[in-house]
């Protein structure tokens, strides 16, 4: 395969001690920010009556998507999008499975339609009037690398910008022994094909094959403060921090490389350099 050259036009973020990309960027550059008390964002772009019914994973995803699109200065209605969550909405899974284990199995119709994995993509396209292709994918622990690869290939094929949003909310109590996430995290990036506009950094990506099978997939070490380290370890979507750290770096550097595991015998290698 040939390498895919791309740019990052805008970023959005929401997590345990940051509510936007400038705050996350500061943390990634060593600043200490305390945890905030807010349980979840309230994205203004969702109309108030819909926002009340929107579950936490949806609000995380839509808030960070909205930030990224504004940062990129693009019209969300014109952007195709790829949404990914590693564990899905386990609070709604918990609600449905609990009700369905009783004699009266009547479900709330709103909770049922909110339980689809593409709820975030649905609320986003409805709120922004976006009629473009919206994808919603899952890759469990490899969610970030698979969604990144999928979005990069679509961006390359269509030669236009695209929104990617990574989001995971804390696991429900019953499932948290298996799906160990206990923090809310969302990040979004708007990508564009190389040459789309003038940017400070230039990225390229390639899928690498490996001779040996990996018994367990290893993500890059990330040197960040404790709270973010824990988020990176437990929240499947927070694995995007490895790329965001490269992006946030304030030191002028010639290049940086990260390798994200995709499958037992493949990985996604992303290289960043100063734009020529």
């Amino acid at each position: 395969m040939s390498d895919i050259g791309f740019q990052i036009l805008g970023v959005g973020a929401w997590g345990p001690n940051f509510q936007n990309w400038p705050e996350l960027s500061a943390i990634l550059n060593g600043e200490k920010l305390a945890a905030h008390e807010i349980k979840g964002p309230k994205p203004e772009v969702i109309p108030a009556n819909e926002r009340r019914r929107a579950p936490l994973p949806v609000r995380l995803a839509v808030e960070s998507s909205w930030q990224a699109v504004n940062d990129a200065g693009l019209d969300p209605a014109e952007l195709p999008c790829v949404f990914v969550s590693g564990i899905g909405d386990t609070q709604l899974t918990d609600y449905m499975c609990t009700v369905l284990a009783t004699d009266n199995k009547a479900l709330s119709p709103t909770k049922f339609h909110n339980s689809v994995h593409n709820a975030a993509a649905g609320y986003w396209t409805i709120s922004t009037g976006c009629t473009q292709a919206a994808n919603s994918v899952a890759g469990f622990q490899e969610s970030v690398s698979l969604a990144m690869m999928e979005a990069l290939i679509q961006c390359q094929a269509e030669q236009r910008p695209l929104l990617i949003t990574f989001y995971d909310a804390p696991s429900s109590e019953v499932l948290c022994g298996l799906l160990k996430n206990d923090v809310s995290f969302a990040a979004s990036i708007v990508i564009a094909p190389r040459g789309y506009s003038e940017t400070r950094l230039d990225f390229s990506a390639r899928v690498k094959q490996h001779q040996l099978k990996q018994a367990e997939n290893h993500w890059p070490e990330l040197d960040v403060q404790k709270m973010l380290q824990s988020c990176y370890a437990k929240n499947p979507s927070a694995k995007i921090l490895s790329l965001l750290k490269l992006l946030a770096s304030v030191e002028p550097r010639s290049s940086g490389v990260i390798e994200l595991p995709l499958s037992q015998q493949t990985s996604l290698q992303i290289t960043v350099a100063q734009s020529a």
Partner: protein
Amino acid sequence: MDIRLIDYQSTTAAGINIDALAKSIDSQQSGLRKNDLFGCDIDTWIGRVAAVDEIDLGEWQSRNNALAALGLKQGSITENLARLKDKYSPARVGIVIGSSTASIDRSEEGYRNLDENGHLAPRFQQPLVHNPHSPSLFVAHHSGITGPAMTINTACSSSAKVFATGARWLAQGIVDAVLVGGVDTLCLSVMYGFNSLQLISDTACRPFDQSRNGINLGEAAGYAILMRAEDAILDTGVVLRGYGESSDAHHMSHPHPEGLGARLAIQQALNMAKLSAQDIDYINLHGTASQANDLIEGKLIGSMFPKSTQVSSTKAWVGHTLGAAGITESLIAVDALRRNRVPGSLNLTTLDEQLDLSIQSDNLAKPLNYVMSNSFGFGGNNCCLVFAKAGDKL
């Protein structure tokens, strides 16, 4: 880009494999039955694949994974995957599976069997099963494919979109072959969920009929192996000619009243295929038999396509198989293309009086060159696919 289907298989209530399904279609024999799903007392009909009940996968067990495994056993899919892994390498083969339920059937069962402390019992401690990526994780494990494996979960368009993604992966060259698929199983979540939306029929479903009163749910597994034409190790004579993906931007569970997103997806698929509406010989409609879908989709198709385009919904054979519907119905259309036989719209007696379409309950022998399949899902997520016979002129 010339993307070929080199092999395909389907497992539904109307046939354990694609040949059995073709026989059911030819003889107009539906696979639907009165609801007998364990633990579910809703008065309706379902498309249940009984052979799934016999399968136990141990640590990978879920009804969904069991159906995925049963589907992989059909025809020559497993044999051809072995050839491809051998010819290239297991890392140069990809997996893209669409699903809406994933293994939530297993989570439901786990919750029915919580221990006294409210924890999952040991046999349900399956992190690789209780998550939305479970179908692809299992298929990768089961098939020995070690290339990228991704799950698409866009409700009822999930396993139509796998063709678009698979084609893009091949065009970019990250893999030499892709196993695309769709697996969804009957479970209480979808039965009681659709019941809460008052969308379920108490009779066998009647897509596009004046007297239709709702959907029947079904379960299915479907697979196709896609390759670039120049590499294709087998020739079924079928090409993926175009795809269209769009959003309604309207409502989470109700289609856009004028079918805005559906129109965009259909137009996009025609554009990519370099075809016009009159070139399409047959459309396998989404046709769920809900009041809203059939009226909106029927009006849209009537306004976009001439009467020379035959249309039908095949959901009265297999039920609405949700996340597996896209590939199940695409493969019915592909099989129709190869056999030059248009499936009828089973259970149709009187067409909705607001519609004007070339649709009937009987099957039809007709030379086919281009076929289309529509899939529309919750969240307003739409996908349309166009398949052609190889060697047609562009």
